[in-house]
């Protein structure tokens, strides 16, 4: 390929116990915007870290303009013309825009003094050439995230970067800001730069990209011109299911009778830069699955419902009580439990025993004075260990020694002990083995039958299909559809994730 700017050939990178990249090829041309997509653990970040010199590959070659390079640090890669702008912008917020653009290369007099006038002039020139408007002597801290992002891009470009990596640059930008960033990207593409664009938003992938490379499980599963890759095909490539096969799959038989009392009612709830307004009614005895790609707003939705994040508008009522000044504490008192994605953050204390971990929340709710007699403690904990079939030789074993699946069940046990009426489960089966997954799934089914109202979040479509009585589909931070009963199939969910613009392209 004559116009290849970057060629990565058969890149292999292993970490202890994991093959992060397994002979991945990646080609970036001059004058193209190349989207790199994939779910968590697909290997995107590792590939980028290798490209920008932050990591060295175990095997494989990296060619820039046809010449093999071995950058040992990001600074060295920058000198070679490969620059990256990360989500957490790497600039000094206390210094001015001008300094952030020119730091390390500031104009100096013969005696080494910084020439501020010249510096500001050059900075203004750079800012203008990028089509931006800003007071270059203002501290970066006072600028919007979007402007900071673009200043970081401007700095990279002004340092003669030929390859620009943008790692989720839009995740904290609103629509207008994203548009401005895209304009800048197109301008740079016209100037002949090669841009690698990483995002979780499919709309954005199609809005600016010329080519799309999909990674899954450390392998490259395809590299296509954006206009030749329909959305559905992209989604199925990311999730690893042939679209046709999925569509043919029958939904498991389920009862559609979700006529229980409304437990949680959310009306027009939204949070800026997090999720668009949505309605949700959660009834006793139903499992509502939230499906969507990573970053589609699944977790954000659960966090809003629980009151971890404050909403910018809308109303939430839980078991009939309106949540005005919503907080996790109020939610818990109203009968809600949330098991978050990250098990460590969920408050498992690794060195405490299984029993103590289970009883932790109960202690907290009873206070220090009304201690539970030891006999009752043991009985309660034993009961849960049995009913959830937590595999532990005894109750005194530290939780850290349990497998991931059993740790997850300990968390569930803790919340169930509080006897919630509403259970929010965010990726309860992530990183646990298949047997444990099935147990968690059947536990969810069991709780549903007993009248609990459950929100179930999972990145695995089949799982959502299996456990849900209703599925809410999210895309790009908005609810885009709802499926019920027999309509719930992996295929139908995938179609909604992919969006209406069947065929993709620059629609």
């Amino acid at each position: 390929m004559a116009d290849a700017l970057v060629e990565m050939r058969e890149i292999v990178k292993t970490y202890p116990g994991v093959v992060a990249l397994d002979a991945v090829d990646f080609t970036l041309r001059a004058g193209e915007i190349h989207a790199l997509v994939g779910e968590n653990g697909a290997g995107k970040s590792t590939l980028i870290r290798i490209l920008t010199g932050a990591e060295r590959p175990d095997r494989g070659r990296l060619l820039l303009n046809g010449r093999e390079i071995h950058a040992r640090s990001p600074a060295e890669a920058q000198r070679l013309g490969v620059a990256a702008v990360y989500q957490e912008i790497n600039l000094a917020p206390d210094l001015s825009i001008a300094e952030n653009l020119l730091l390390g290369r500031e104009p100096r007099s013969r005696f080494g003094w910084i020439q501020w006038g010249e510096m500001r002039r050059r900075a203004r020139q750079i800012v203008r050439s990028m089509g931006l408007e800003a007071d270059v002597s203002a501290p970066l801290r006072d600028c919007s995230i979007a402007l900071r992002q673009m200043i970081a891009v401007a700095r990279a470009v002004d340092q003669r970067a030929r390859v620009l990596v943008l790692d989720e640059p839009t995740s904290s930008l609103d629509a207008a800001e994203t548009g401005r960033l895209f304009d800048l990207m197109r301008r740079l593409r016209a100037a002949g730069l090669g841009i690698v664009f990483i995002t979780h938003f499919l709309e954005q992938v199609y809005a600016v990209s010329d080519r799309i490379t999909v990674l899954r499980g450390g392998r490259c599963v395809g590299s296509h011109a954006a206009r030749d890759l329909p959305r559905l095909a992209l989604v199925s490539a990311m999730l690893g299911k042939a679209a046709s096969a999925v569509a043919a799959e029958r939904a498991s038989t389920r009862r559609a009778d979700c006529g229980g009392a409304a437990r949680l009612v959310a009306k027009r709830v939204f949070r800026r830069r997090s999720i668009q307004p949505f309605d949700l009614t959660l009834r006793a005895g139903e499992v509502v699955g939230l499906a969507g790609l990573l970053g589609s707003g699944r977790t954000e939705m659960a966090r809003l419902l629980f009151g971890v994040e404050t909403r910018d508008g809308g109303t939430i009522s839980i078991n009939g009580a309106a949540m005005h000044r919503h907080s996790p504490r109020r939610s818990i008192r109203a009968g809600v439990a949330l098991a978050p994605e990250d098990r460590r953050a969920a408050g498992l204390v690794p060195r405490l025993s299984v029993r103590d971990n289970i009883l932790l929340a109960l202690h907290a709710s009873r206070g220090w004075l009304r201690r539970l007699p030891r006999r009752d403690q043991v009985a309660l904990a034993e009961q849960f260990v049995r009913s959830l079939s937590i595999a532990t030789p005894d109750l005194r074993r530290p939780v850290a020694q349990l497998s991931g699946g059993n740790q997850q069940k300990v968390i569930l046990a803790r919340w169930l002990l509080m006897e919630p009426t509403i259970l929010l489960l965010d990726e309860p089966t992530r990183g646990i083995d298949i047997g444990a997954k099935e147990q968690v799934e059947s536990l969810v089914a069991d709780l549903r039958v007993r009248g609990m109202a459950i929100v179930f979040i999972s990145g695995e479509l089949e799982e959502v299909v299996r456990v849900s009585s209703r599925v809410v589909v999210l895309r790009d931070r908005a609810v885009v559809g709802e499926l019920e009963g027999a309509a719930i199939t992996a295929g139908s969910i995938m179609e909604r994730i992919a969006g209406p613009a069947e065929g993709g392209g620059h629609a």
Binding site: D94, L95, L103, R108, W113, I114
Partner: protein
């Protein structure tokens, strides 16, 4: 204009407090109105001021230096030993002491940078080492210079009532302000304090800058020790006890953010003068105890820390 005002208003607040204190003191005590008393604010607090100047650099870079008080004491002992007992000429002894202070600071900076040790602990160890060394230098914990003519004549030197100590302090402030504003090294100090990993990714010279900052703090503390010897004609291993905490207070009252990245030496000068006035006032009032000054300094410190938080909040709105 408005943007400039909000940007600099922690410094303005410090200035207003200083002015109010000075005017208040001048109204209450006639002795405070004299030019001589004004210059004494600088002369009497030159050692603290020098330490605070060095501390400003350290804090701007996101670190802390707890060793300065001990380094001052150690430097004073060293100078008295070299110039007094060993009878070195002053032009040789003083630079030797300064070099030792800078080297000591650079050593701590090197440990902090290379082994990623917390500055708090490394400089705490440095504090014990320096104080111990100071005590080691003489069995009497104090070395009198006696009739050392060159030091005595230096102590009598003054320009417009500013003593040599005050002049050295003011020179340090001026040079530091210039370096922080006009030199790449100075801007790198801000960048490191603002976001170290960003500074590294921007290709800035993080290692020499960080080590240099602690070296400078050691140098300033050594200068503070020298100034003390000139003023008192003696080295003393027990002086400047916990002076580093006064220096930190002066820097923070002067508007420098403890987390690094924001602040100025000019602010530190104002902070030192505020402390100077507060500690001078009890001399004019017979029944005023020194606990009073501590209370005021504590209250001011809290006030300024809160102000910083509030102003930051406003700007982010």
């Amino acid at each position: 204009m408005r943007a400039n005002l909000t940007r600099h208003w922690p410094l303005l607040a410090t200035g207003v407090v200083l002015l109010a204190l000075y005017i208040g003191a001048a109204i209450a005590f006639p002795g405070f109105r004299t030019w001589f008393q004004f210059t004494r604010l600088f002369s009497d607090n030159a050692t603290l001021g020098l330490a605070a100047v060095g501390m400003t650099f350290v804090i701007l870079s996101g670190g802390i230096d707890l060793s300065v008080g001990a380094v001052i004491a150690c430097a004073s002992m060293m100078l008295a030993l070299l110039a007094g007992e060993l009878a070195w000429p002053l032009w040789l002894a003083a630079p030797a002491v300064l070099a030792a202070g800078a080297a000591f600071g650079a050593g701590m900076g090197g440990l902090i940078h290379i082994f990623r040790l917390p500055p708090f602990l490394v400089t705490l160890a440095g504090m014990f080492l320096a104080r111990g060394t100071a005590l080691l230098l003489s069995p009497h914990k104090r070395i009198e210079l006696g009739s050392h003519d060159s030091v005595r004549s230096l102590s009598l030197l003054h320009v417009a009532d500013f003593t040599l100590a005050a002049l050295i302090f003011l020179a340090a402030v001026t040079l530091s302000a210039l370096a922080l504003r006009w030199m790449r090294w100075g801007r790198t100090v801000y960048a490191i304090g603002s976001d170290e990993s960003a500074a590294r990714l921007m290709g800035l010279a993080v290692a020499p800058t960080r080590i240099g900052v602690y070296a400078l703090s050691g140098l300033c503390a050594a200068a503070g020790g020298i100034v003390h010897v000139i003023g008192t004609q003696a080295g003393d291993a027990s002086i400047a006890f916990l002076l580093e905490l006064d220096a930190i207070a002066a820097v923070v009252i002067g508007g420098t953010v403890l987390a690094g990245g924001r602040g100025s030496v000019l602010g530190t000068l104002l902070g030192v003068l505020i402390l100077a006035i507060i500690t001078t006032i009890p001399g004019y009032v017979s029944d005023l105890d020194s606990w009073w000054t501590r209370l005021i300094i504590g209250a001011l410190l809290l006030l300024f820390v809160s102000l910083q938080r509030v102003s930051q909040h406003w700007r982010e709105e």
